[in-house]
Symmetry: C2
Subunit: 160 residues, 2 copies
């Protein structure tokens, strides 16, 4: 049951981050993390890419993918402002975890086996902020996406 009838339809649909180079970011989110591209919206000076884990959706039509863009939870929106990928003066985006610009922290991906997932990330050349063996929190890790955003890797099943 919803908290109120007025919010009964509400879903946490997506999170948007800006990326410097969509080719690099799409390769990361699709090939390394395994997300599917649901939709691409091109405008004159920017393009939006919507991704989600779509494990049951191999048979989804383009229209169904497009419809699911706003209808489901767990969608990641990447905004590419055209030109940043080849601008030598572009300073890069803030991860949100250092001053100035602290606020946003990270996104998190649930995996069945953190150790195994991290071994694969390591093989694929992914940068780590914190390996499972670093620090006290041995059951989680932090990797970096191509823009330096932090991605927490968490186990789906918790030992309570």
């Amino acid at each position: 049951m919803p908290r109120t009838t007025e919010t009964a339809s509400f879903k946490f649909n997506h999170t948007m981050i800006r990326v410097k180079d969509p080719k690099v970011s799409l390769a990361f989110y699709q090939d390394i993390l395994g997300m599917d591209l649901l939709s691409v919206k091109e405008f004159s000076d920017f393009t939006l890419y919507f991704l989600a884990f779509n494990h049951d959706g191999r048979g989804l039509s383009a229209e169904e993918k497009e419809k699911s863009r706003f209808a489901r939870e767990g969608v990641l929106e990447l905004t590419h402002n055209h030109g940043t990928e080849s601008d030598p003066n572009f300073q890069g985006y803030a991860s949100g975890n250092t001053e100035p610009g602290k606020g946003f922290g990270h996104i998190a991906i649930t995996v069945d086996d953190v150790e195994k997932a991290c071994e694969r990330f390591e093989k694929l050349g992914v940068q780590f902020k914190k390996r499972p063996s670093d620090g006290k929190m041995r059951h989680i890790a932090f990797i970096l996406d191509p823009d330096g955003y932090w991605i927490e890797i968490v186990p789906g099943v918790l030992d309570l």
Copy 2:
């Protein structure tokens, strides 16, 4: 079907943002947006609050809520660094949408009726970045959370 067997278990579990005052933020995310508090993790100098839309979950036990914290998509994690709520020198967090610190953009909530949801937000005193009637994109809105993070309000059903 997953893109690869290695990523078959992956889910986009949560997004973390820092908040100045958890009382204010919890009131906003619970009472105005209608999210449920799944879990609270208190550490010596910070506390983590995990929220999600839990419309079917009124009967969930505390243990089931705790387990769902990492097992589902659409979770929002609020990090409160103790003391910011009463520190007169605290400058506030960056929304990610202005320099310096540009990077993160927003989170988005899907609703069945954007107009109706926004009328309710207006009555509840929520701040708007963009009302549905502002600008060209009449089918969406942007509200601000208590820390100034942008929250896009999008319709769950798209007219394609």
